[in-house]
């Protein structure tokens, strides 16, 4: 059983968070969509009004990854709101480096997000999964969640770039 620790992210973790964000994007086959920089993460997560919060999974030096990393997993979350039931927590990213999977680290990260959400008075934990990502879906289903897109027909929509600029025009 591998020893690992789960702790809140601090500003010094942003370099590793940026690295793992790109890893996760690659796994999701969308790495060309990553525009964010380490500096963005520092500003957006660690100024007076953070836009997100992070948790890091860390192993001791003797268990470091092949590339020499000890920060080997993370979760990004923020607080949201449902007009029907109020406070909710949204888990934006959950990732464990491939060589460290199967050790309960993903579950521990998700547990932490759940704990923090409950402590803050949240009634739901929401997140998205890609429809082809069967192993992730199985992992989540095994912990008792359900698929709202299937159940209620909810689709995630976005207005960005030119469409957003046009909408903002008087």
């Amino acid at each position: 059983m591998m020893d690992f620790s789960i702790r809140p992210a601090n500003v010094e973790d942003c370099k590793d968070i940026a690295r793992m964000i790109r890893d996760l994007a690659e796994y999701e086959e969308m790495s060309d969509l990553v525009k964010i920089t380490q500096r963005d993460l520092e500003q957006d997560g660690f100024s007076k009004n953070p836009f997100y919060h992070g948790i890091i999974a860390e192993v001791s030096d003797q268990h470091r990854s092949q590339d020499g990393h000890t920060k080997i997993g993370y979760a990004l979350y923020f607080y949201s709101y449902s007009s029907w039931i109020g406070r909710a927590i949204y888990m934006e990213d959950l990732y464990v480096m491939q060589e460290f999977r199967g050790n309960g680290i993903g579950k521990a990260l998700m547990s932490k997000v759940a704990q923090l959400g409950l402590a803050a008075g949240c009634n739901q934990l929401n997140f998205t999964v890609l429809d082809w990502n069967k192993s992730s879906m199985d992992f989540y289903f095994s912990h008792g969640c359900f698929n709202i897109t299937t159940k209620l027909g909810y689709h995630c929509m976005r207005c960005e770039g030119e469409a957003l600029e046009n909408l903002a025009q008087p």
Binding site: I21, A25, M30, V34, K35, I36, L41, D44, F51, F78, Y79, Y81, S82, S83, W84, I85, G86, R87, Y90, E92, D93, A108, S111, A114, Q115, G117, Q124, L125, N126, F127, T128, V129, L130, D131, W132, Y140, H143, G144, C145, F146, N147, I148, T149, L152, G153, Y154, H155, C156, M157, R158, C159, E160, G161, E162, A163, L164, N166, L167, A168, Q169
Partner: protein, 172 residues
């Protein structure tokens, strides 16, 4: 001709906000799902750390002595996409039936898009039920992309019971 104005919600608007939330839920046949109370809305929107922000559309009554009527609202908050940064998330958006067709909805959307750009958000996000044809068309006409359809994103949820189970530390 009905005059209306948009403004930031204040604590006194909480009863109207709840009224409109319930009206919209009724329109979606889900009125019994609204568990929020005025107390929750007050604490969560107007306390030290707001969980949401709200803009209100109100019309003036015909006689100048009548109270203005709150006829529409939008509830939003800021979220984060680790690939592109800040997003403005539109949680709820509703204009009362009697006031549709006046451009209030479009104006609310315009106001929020402008706010999104001013706060350096790269996108505005929201959820639509696929069987809500009028809403889907309303947004697609304005250039919204359906990420569930185009990229395969599925929205998942843990409700309170499963959340509590997951928060329990694993047995040693």
């Amino acid at each position: 001709k009905m005059e209306y104005k948009l403004r930031k919600a204040e604590p006194k608007d909480v009863p109207d906000i709840l009224r409109l939330v319930k009206e919209l839920a009724k329109y979606e046949d889900m009125e019994h799902q609204v568990a929020l109370t005025e107390k929750d809305l007050l604490e969560d929107g107007f306390g030290e750390t707001p969980f949401y922000h709200c803009i209100i559309a109100e019309i003036q009554g015909e006689k100048s002595s009548e109270d203005p009527n709150v006829v529409g609202f939008a509830m939003y908050y800021f979220t984060y996409d680790p690939w592109v940064g800040k997003q403005l998330y539109l949680e709820e958006f509703y204009v009362m039936d009697k006031c549709r067709g006046l451009g209030i909805g479009s104006e609310i959307l315009r106001h929020l898009s402008d706010l999104a750009m001013k706060t350096r958000c790269t996108g505005m996000m929201f959820v639509v039920a696929e069987n809500n044809e009028p809403s889907v068309q309303f947004y697609k006409r304005r250039g919204a992309e359906d990420l569930s359809e185009e990229e395969g994103w599925r929205l998942f949820r843990f409700d309170k019971t499963s959340l509590a189970k997951m928060a329990t530390p694993a047995e040693e």
